[in-house]
Amino acid sequence: MTDSYVHTAAFMGTVVTFHVVGTGLRDSGAREDAVARAADWFRCIEHACSRFDPASELRQLSARTGVPTPVSAMLFEAIRFALAIAEETGGAFDPTVGASVEAMGFDTDFRSGTVTQSDASRRDADFRDVLLDTDARTVLLRRPLTFDLGAIAKGLAIDVAARELRAFENFAIDAGGDLYLAGCNAEGRPWSIGIRHPHIAHETIETVHLSNKAICTSGDYERRSHRSATDHHIVDGRSRATATALASATVVAESAMVADAFATAAFILGPIEGLRLLERHGLDGLLISPALDRFATAGMSALVSRSDAESLRSA
């Protein structure tokens, strides 16, 4: 029996599982400490970047307009990366769509049940209204706006937590389907990762085998709005409407923050532009249309077929 340590806790509106594949019980104390530190990162980053928690740094920042506000490294880096993606996608991905997302009904804190609601005027602002000063690590909002760093913060937390666990060769971090896989699974093989079928829960549409990679999927099936049957939580920053060109977008990258952000961006851009974006940045991805047509980067096609071979070997 292979020795593993698995810890699961609730963060960021989802469930996070840390799974360390060990080599013996001797270091189990160190292993549990490291996982505790990794989990602590999720708590800290959630506390910095939560759109729901009134005490979060993000919400405090959102309340200040027209003055440079010093922020933590966590919030600054999350915003900086989000703005870079926004710029790259011409505003299709936009971290300032929070008010529009709220207006669709994604307004309830999973923990307290508290409903947040921003002023409607905040829906007019976009990412160009956010100015960064890298040297002073300050953020200046030119107009009132509501951030939604959901796609960034969870990935960032996974990456930093993975960094915290790097002393262990083999581990997995699963944050509600966004994953980082280090080394091998308990059977000594690359982690086998199913990609969820966009229409059928509990079914996978593809399998890949990964080591030392992150994989994230943005789909129209997660977190449906309670106000509208067609609205989900991924909003096109240009139209401020729900993106509909794809049913899901999966991206494989070295970093979960990169994978998560690009999966969301590709989901919004649709199959053609989305694939171009991924290829341009050397990332692998699989985009699935609502009719279940598949659009894969060359690298992703290779990953999938390698996994087919892997499955045959292990069968």
């Binding site: 963060f11 799974h19 996982v35 959630e46 740094e57 930093v160 915290e164 308990a186 990169v258």
Partner: protein
């Protein structure tokens, strides 16, 4: 955005890696102390003062409205669910065993610390023992009927054919604020149980869905949570 911060596309992925390193480095000293804290079993959960604006922020933080008091409906469902849940746990000796130790809050290393909505998480305190509210964050009024759950952190155990599961349930003001599971000596990946603890928090009960292909260990988690909740009653 400053021109110097404008990125060419080829730099985006590198920026992501740099961002992660930057955040990790900024918090490195903090995680070391966190390690010592957890190693010592000290349950004092102090939100780290890792940002240079914490002081300023704390001053700005206005007390949030007390979270909507748990509705009587929710309270009833807890009681019903728990009492319904306990029966099969007692009846099935195979999937339940007595917890080996009586876990008191002060002995439990809480690793699933969820911040409460109150800003008082930024101040040092020992929430399990004395949930003393910060002056600017009055505790929710005790008007609504309270569920029969005592505050504290409780641990329960379950056994599956994949290994033993330990569940930790944290209760504050009569509500489940955190639920987590730790599992040792497992043979297989346990991603199938990952959907469960969050549901416990959301539904305020030990009722959990079955997860395809994971019935066995779903039960183990279920019984572990039931066990933990029994101690809270």
């Amino acid at each position: 955005m400053n021109p110097k911060d404008r990125l060419t596309s080829s730099k985006l992925v590198a920026l992501g890696a740099a961002a992660v390193m930057s955040v990790y480095s900024a918090g490195y000293a903090r995680t070391r102390t966190a390690a010592e804290r957890f190693a010592g079993g000290d349950t004092e959960r102090r939100a780290p003062t890792h940002t240079d604006v914490d002081g300023e922020r704390a001053a700005q933080v206005r007390a949030p409205e007390p979270a909507a008091s748990p509705a009587p409906v929710a309270t009833e469902s807890i009681a019903q669910n728990v009492s319904r849940a306990v029966e099969p746990a007692v009846g099935d000796a195979r999937t339940k065993r007595d917890s080996q130790t009586t876990v008191t809050p002060s002995q439990t290393a809480v690793v699933a610390a969820l911040p409460t909505p109150a800003p008082s998480v930024d101040t040092a305190r020992t929430p399990e023992v004395t949930p003393a509210p910060a002056p600017e964050a009055p505790a929710p009024k005790q008007e609504a009927p309270r569920p029969q759950l005592a505050d504290g952190t409780f641990t329960g155990y379950g056994t599956s054919r994949h290994g033993d599961i330990e569940a930790t349930v944290e209760i504050k003001n009569g509500r489940i604020t955190a639920a987590s599971i730790s599992q040792c000596l497992t043979r297989y990946s346990c991603s199938w149980i990952s959907a469960l603890p969050g549901q416990v928090v959301a539904r305020q009960s030990a009722e959990v869905d079955y997860v395809s292909g994971a019935t066995q260990s779903t039960n183990a988690f279920y019984y572990a949570v039931v066990e933990a909740l029994k101690k809270a009653k």
